[in-house]
């Protein structure tokens, strides 16, 4: 591909600083016309910042952005959209209280403050039909849609804006495989008609299926750009982290028969979202919960922690049946539960407060602990190597990975007997992931029972001793030992009875 015409998008010497943090340093990046360009990197590598620069959400500290060879300044998302740079954000950009139709009207490229024309709605509806969203009614309020449906609407809205460059930032994370395939067909069709696509995903097989070229980012710099197929999976991971995948996980200990049962849940049900789920966790065991989004595994975890009203079933801890009606109950020593919630920014932490204040918040309600003594947290923080400029610094000044370390340390100070985690490594860099895996295994070795909800198959396979898969509110498969393989997990998440069928397909 050698061309006289300049590339669609060229970024030169881009730097982006947030205070002392350098999110991007002197990055050159090019996207050609009509290519699907995957951008890879761990979180914090700078790829989301790069996308935000292109989408006009942020303005670079220094550097040039050129479109068709001409320097442009993108002062706002509106500027970017006017030039055909359309981003489908990871954090959804739909207005929850407006209907799908109103969102699409408002999102049309020619929408101003005046009368909104319905012309572009047809294009959006066509897109929805093509990506399996024909069941989505335009009169529905967005907040009443499921997460996958919202992503489908996002995609329709983006395509409707007639992009020259389409940015997909984790655009398909909630969609199931068959819908993803339809979205990919659509993206390929867009490319074939001359649109460039920037694609961010953490699912490697998606990148293999879609990308023409791949750029790898690490710590705010572009490491390399190459054609799809030029490097193997392992090599790419090396580029991203300089580590091999097997090295990420600590070795599993051989399963010991004699382990004592710690947590036993019998026939747990909650409306039609969780149905008759029973499971046990032994001391020292790491048990995984998997499944597609919204199959009841999150609700189940919340239920154990006392967050659901009207649930039924019994919870037995260390032989005693417990009634847990609030997190305050759950954290008392006789129950000894801790929950690392799914969203660390709104549920796990109070971003406006200091690191220390966040650490203390869980321990404060426990009379047997001296919450204000920093020594209580020192051990965990050392182990996790929290990087900070003083515990009195605001927790918001930390990177995502370090924030998650604070959440962990806050709860581990209570020495929980059973640790519940809701996808604790989502959006976290690989180094922190390894550290979290290490500490979870160590806790297990010391006798803590761990229940880990994860969307990452690697974790369910390599970290967990046993993994339960949810489908439609039920527990459809319990895998352990040799049966704990990617094929079996995938088959179970799609609720295929015979796992072998898929393996041979």
């Amino acid at each position: 591909m050698q061309d006289r015409q300049p590339p669609l998008l060229e970024m030169q010497g881009i730097s982006m600083h947030f205070g002392a943090t350098k999110a991007l340093q002197d990055v050159d990046f090019t996207c050609r016309t009509g290519e699907i360009h995957a951008v890879l990197g761990e979180n914090g590598a700078g790829k989301s910042t790069l996308m935000k620069l292109i989408a006009g959400v942020l303005q670079p500290t220094s550097g040039r952005i050129c479109l068709d060879g001409e320097e442009v300044s993108l002062g706002s998302p509106k500027d970017a959209v006017d030039r055909g740079l359309v981003c489908m954000f990871q954090e959804l950009s739909l207005v929850p209280d407006l209907s799908v139709r109103e969102n699409l009207l408002l999102g049309a490229r020619e929408a101003g403050l005046g009368w909104l024309r319905a012309d572009s709605l047809r294009a959006a509806e066509e897109v929805l039909d093509r990506i399996g969203g024909e069941g989505i009614r335009l009169a529905t309020r967005v907040s009443d849609l499921t997460l996958p449906a919202r992503q489908q609407v996002e995609i329709a809205k983006a395509i409707m804006r007639r992009p020259r460059l389409l940015i997909l930032d984790e655009a398909t994370s909630a969609l199931n495989a068959s819908v993803v395939e339809k979205v990919f067909d659509l993206v390929r069709a867009q490319r074939d008609s001359g649109t460039s696509v920037l694609f961010i995903s953490h699912r490697f097989h998606e990148i293999e299926a879609l990308a023409d070229r791949i750029s790898v980012f690490r710590s705010g710099q572009r490491v390399e750009t190459f054609k799809q197929g030029d490097h193997s999976y392992d090599e790419i991971i090396n580029m991203m982290v300089g580590q091999r995948i097997e090295e990420l996980f600590p070795p599993k200990p051989p399963s010991s028969e004699a382990a004592e049962e710690l947590l036993k849940i019998d026939n747990f049900s909650w409306g039609d979202q969780v149905r008759n789920v029973s499971l046990t966790i032994d001391k020292g065991q790491i048990v995984g919960l998997g499944g597609l989004d919204g199959q009841g595994q999150n609700a189940f975890l919340m239920g154990i922690f006392g967050l659901l009203r009207g649930s039924s079933g019994s919870i037995t801890i260390g032989g005693d049946t417990m009634s847990i009606s609030s997190p305050k109950d759950a954290k008392q020593p006789e129950i000894g539960l801790a929950l690392i919630p799914e969203d660390r920014k709104t549920e796990g932490l109070i971003l406006d407060q200091s690191i220390l204040e966040n650490l203390e918040l869980a321990a404060l309600g426990r009379d047997d602990l001296e919450a204000t003594n920093p020594d209580l947290y020192a051990e965990t923080l050392d182990q996790l190597e929290l990087k900070h400029g003083g515990l009195d610094q605001p927790v918001s000044s930390l990177s995502g990975g370090n924030q998650q370390k604070v959440v962990l340390a806050k709860w581990l100070a209570l020495k929980p007997r059973c640790l519940l985690l809701a996808d604790p490594t989502r959006g976290i860099d690989v180094k922190t992931k390894t550290q979290i895996y290490m500490i979870l295994r160590q806790l297990a070795d010391q006798g803590t029972a761990i229940l880990l909800l994860s969307t990452d198959y690697e974790e369910l396979i390599h970290l967990c001793d046993e993994t339960h898969i949810f489908y439609g509110g039920r527990l459809v498969a319990s895998l352990s030992g040799k049966a704990l393989t990617a094929q079996n997990i995938i088959a179970a998440t799609l609720n295929m009875r015979d796992a072998a069928e898929l393996a041979h397909a």
Binding site: P327, A330, T346, G348, I350, Q353, E357, A362, L364
Partner: protein, 314 residues
């Protein structure tokens, strides 16, 4: 937990000093001990109300029932004293405080359990209390009188300082201790920033909300008792002029209306500043209209200063 006093909280003190100095160049009597102690005495009424409001605002809520909790407490206490019964007279002040706490608990119920925005729920409480008072007094000024103790609390002197000021300082110190040294204070701020995360950390956020509103109700009631002592009677709508200055005092003192950030030290300054401003404007014999305009402008300017400083820092 050691924290340095944020600059925002010092602003009203600075403003108060400027007011005194500027005012004294025109009216030298402002710089006399008599005038200044009188200001301390009067500032205590606003200050007590603002103390309660600070607690609720730190929580991220607002209490619009202050005027009629104040009036109700004043009516209740003067009525008890006016009954002539010695036992009831002694009970006047405790009864008023219990009344304040009770209304606070009802406020807390609406906010914490029914999850009604406090701005609406406390407003409804306010109009119900108004209705109760009207029904009870027949729309005329309530009968009754203040007890000697109430008069002393409002107008007495001790060690050359007004008793009302000393009471205000004692209440402030006590509550400041609770806010900074106890888990309750920590929970209060945490809820102000992020209630969900606080709840998930195993905090009974409901009880914190209940206690906060009850404390605020008691502060309003105490303010009402002392104002009744000051006027030696209770009267209809005696609380209405206090609502907005109360909120203004809290906000000028650097407490964020969004919750979480701020404290009582700034509120004390805010109450002093607003009392001085009102007083000096009236010493200067400026009419109601201009007083209202200047009052609003100065509050705006103070708030813009806060923003400017934040802008300069980031």
């Amino acid at each position: 937990m050691t924290r340095q006093i944020p600059l925002d909280a010092l602003m009203p003190y600075l403003g108060a000093i400027i007011l005194i100095l500027a005012g004294s160049t025109f009216f030298p009597q402002i710089l006399t001990a008599g005038y200044l102690t009188q200001q301390l005495q009067i500032a205590a009424f606003l200050g007590l109300l603002a103390t309660g409001a600070t607690i609720v605002i730190l929580l991220g809520q607002i209490d619009l029932s202050v005027p009629w909790v104040l009036t109700g407490a004043a009516i209740l206490s003067t009525a008890l004293v006016g009954s002539g019964n010695a036992v009831l007279s002694v009970l006047a002040i405790p009864a008023a405080l219990i009344f304040g706490a009770l209304i606070g608990l009802i406020n807390g119920f609406g906010v914490a359990v029914l999850r009604i925005p406090s701005m609406v729920w406390t407003l409804a409480m306010n109009s119900m209390l108004l209705g109760l008072a009207v029904l009870n007094t027949g729309g005329f000024n309530p009968k009754g009188e203040a007890s000697g103790l109430m008069v002393m609390m409002a107008s007495g002197d001790l060690f050359g300082l007004p008793v009302s000021f000393l009471i205000w300082m004692m209440v402030s110190l006590g509550l400041a201790y609770i806010l900074t040294r106890t888990p309750f204070g920590r929970y209060l701020r945490s809820i102000g920033f992020n209630e969900k995360a606080t709840y998930l950390s195993g905090v009974s956020t409901r009880s914190v909300v209940f206690i906060a509103f009850a404390l605020a109700g008691m502060c309003s009631a105490l303010g009402g008792v002392m104002l009744a002592g000051y006027a030696n009677q209770a009267y209809q709508s005696m609380g209405d002029p206090f609502l907005l200055p109360t909120i203004a005092a809290v906000v000028i003192g650097g407490t964020s209306i969004l919750g979480g950030r701020g404290g009582l030290f700034g509120t004390i300054g805010g109450a002093l500043f607003i009392t001085l401003l009102t007083s000096i404007l009236s010493v200067m014999q400026i009419g109601d209209a201009w007083r209202s305009i200047i009052f609003g402008l100065i509050i705006l300017v103070m708030l813009l200063f806060q923003t400017l400083r934040k802008g300069a820092r980031s």
